[in-house]
Structure formats: structure tokens, C-alpha cells
Symmetry: C2
Subunit: 197 residues, 2 copies
DNA sequence: ACCTGAACACCGTTCAAGT
DNA sequence: ACCTGAACACCGTTCAAGT
């Protein structure tokens, strides 16, 4: 055993990885800095070097969530054709799929209690994925498959519908019978509201 | 001073009232059972008589939120006329208004981490206000101002749009310029997606 | 620079005991 | 029935000290 670093190399990454695991397995309420440190095998004060506060770790976690969401969304557009309806369908399923597969993380990403500075960084990350949706809708407009109007203003109701359906699904507000056709209905509704004339 | 009750009469109500106040003023993260007890002037163990756990108090708080939301929604329908567009417009503004005026409470109401039994009670409370929206849309169908289809399936995308816009607004994801016309755009989109044919 | 060890001021929850 | 007082096992955060 040579002079390896103090513990095992990359404490910040280890903290984030562990944190997301317990977030997924036990929910955000059970996320304790001390327990994280215990599981990784460092002292209770060690995390403080890398995340000044617990909220800072949560903010960092939310940021990775936005990045992964952007990747998921980008992947959904591969080999799906150029028609607006098909692209929107794929994007909607990707977004809702990500949401239900990462419920606690999504809660964190859109949580009310971010610090002002963190909100700035998160806003940028959120924009990163929202621009994909904007591009998709803008393309639809150019193809004549989406009604005219300022891009952001056309897109906002689409955002709201997707985000709202994901939120309802994640918080368990949708009866089981609904989940079978709910997403289909939502997509149909979005397409209707986007249609020209 | 006669033999008044142990503290001042109604500890459960006092706890709920104080809890909502600090929820509004300092956010859900700053909600401490011990501090609540301190402010009210009872021992740290007193709340336990009425709310077996902190989560139980949060669940009760969420329940009052759904009740007040239902009242707000009902009030929005008074003297608004019978036309679907007008009723939906009023309901949408009432919902989003309630959301931004009670951001932390809304977060709680649609939180992921309710206990299974609490979810049942909350589901009932949520249904209480959702039925108002269902009635509104059903009436629109009968008037021929809303497209046909199973009521719940027509309503779900509307729910999603409202809930999603509220969530985006509450979590600060909407730039300031947007809030001026965002809600108008959303309502227009909802009406478009509800239109017959 | 990165981490430890110990300390501080807080938690939620439990439980015997009081009224 | 309703609450107190004290205790238990935990927190997040700070800070001198070590390597």
C-alpha cells in the first residue's frame, strides 16, 4: 500500500453517488450527511470540505439530475424521424419516464428551497434541457406543423403539461387505471394545443 | 384565573396554525416540532399526544391545504357566468393564485413522502377539489363547448397543465417576463386543447 | 489540501411521572 | 386525558489539530 490519498480518491464523487443511491432507496427525508460519511468511511466533518452545507450537496445533486435529464431527452430524439408529432411523443415519454424513474431526484430538482446562488446555476442547467424542447417546437413551426407565435410562449404550456403530469404521477395522485392511457391522452392534448390555426 | 385547561385550550389547532405560519415565513426546512412547542409554550413532548410523529403533522397540514384549495376554487366560480371559457379562466387563476400564495404548502400537499395511510386521506381530499374541475368540464361538454370523451380522460391533461404551471411558477423556474403573459397563454392553450372537433 | 476528533447546539421520539 | 421532565440516539456545523 503506497501513499494513496486520504481515503480512496474522490470524496465529492463518492458523496454524490451515495447520496443519490439513498435518495432513490429511502427518499430525501432519510438523507443524512453523517450517515453518508459513515457509509463511505470518512469522518463526519469530511464532507464539509467539498460541500459547505447539506443544501450545497442537494443543489449539486439536483444539477446532475438536470444534466442526466438533458441526456435522456437527447437520446429520445435519435432515430425518431423528423415529424413534429413523433418527436414530441418521444420527448414526452422520455421526460415522464425520467420523472417516475427518479421521483425523489425530480422533487429535489424542482424544490422550492434552493439558495439564491444555487438557483442561478440550476436555472442554467434547466435551460440546457429546456432548449431541446424549444428547438423541437421551433422545428415544428418551420415545418408548418405547429401554430405560429413567439417560441417561448408556444412552448410554456407544453412545459407545464409535461411537468404537471410528471408531478402528478410522481406524487401518486394518479389512480392506477389512469397510468395506462394517461400519457397517451396527455400527448394527444399537447399536439391538439400545438396544432396550426 | 380559574382552572383553565392545561395550556390554552386547543393544542392541535395551535400547532397547525403555528406550523403553517413558519411554513409560510421560513419554508418547510425550518419546521421543527420542538420549536413549535417552544413558541406555543408547551413541553417538547406535548405535540406527540396529537400528532404521533412530525410527518403526521405535515400530513394534517397538507389536508387543510386541500380543503382551503377547494374553497378557493369554489369561490372563484361565483358570479362568473356559465360559459365554459369564463369558468375555466377563473378556476385556472384561482388554482395558480393559491399555489404562488402558498408555495411551501403546495410543495407539502404534493410531496412524495406521505405515509401510505396518509396518502389515502390526502387522496380523498384531493379528489374533493378535483371534482369541482370535473364538474366544470362536464358542464362544458353538455354545453357543447368542450370536446366529447370520457370526463376523466378529458380532464387529466387540464389538471396536468394547471399543476405544472403552478409548479414551475412556485419553484422559480419562470423568468420574470413570463409571469405577465404566461398564465394567459396557458389558459388559451387549455381552451384550445378542450375545444370540440 | 484534505481529513480527524471532539465539541456545540440542536433535533424527533419515548416514557415514567405528575395533575 | 393531557401534559411535564428527563433521557436517548441522532443531527448539521465548527474548529483546532493532525498528516
Amino acid at each position: 500500500m503506497k501513499n494513496r490519498p486520504y481515503h480512496h480518491g474522490d470524496l465529492p464523487a463518492a458523496l454524490l453517488a451515495r447520496a443519490e443511491q439513498t435518495l432513490r432507496e429511502k427518499g430525501s427525508g432519510a438523507l443524512s450527511l453523517r450517515e453518508l460519511a459513515r457509509e463511505i468511511g470518512v469522518s463526519p466533518a469530511a464532507p464539509n470540505r467539498h460541500f459547505k452545507t447539506k443544501q450545497a450537496l442537494l443543489d449539486a445533486l439536483a444539477l446532475t439530475g438536470f444534466e442526466r435529464l438533458a441526456e435522456t431527452l437527447a437520446a429520445s430524439q435519435e432515430g425518431v424521424g423528423a415529424a413534429f408529432a413523433a418527436r414530441m411523443d418521444a420527448a414526452a415519454r422520455a421526460y415522464v419516464g425520467f420523472a417516475v424513474a427518479n421521483a425523489a431526484l425530480l422533487d429535489l430538482m424542482f424544490s422550492v428551497k434552493h439558495s439564491p446562488e444555487a438557483s442561478e446555476a440550476l436555472g442554467a442547467a434547466a435551460q440546457q434541457w429546456s432548449e431541446q424542447l424549444l428547438e423541437l417546437i421551433g422545428d415544428g413551426q418551420r415545418r408548418g406543423e405547429v401554430r405560429e407565435g413567439q417560441l417561448e410562449r408556444v412552448a410554456l404550456p407544453v412545459f407545464a403539461a409535461l411537468h404537471g403530469y410528471a408531478g402528478l404521477a410522481v406524487s401518486g395522485m394518479l389512480p392506477a387505471e389512469v397510468t395506462e392511457h394517461g400519457l397517451d391522452d396527455l400527448i394527444a392534448s399537447i399536439l391538439r394545443s400545438c396544432a396550426p390555426q
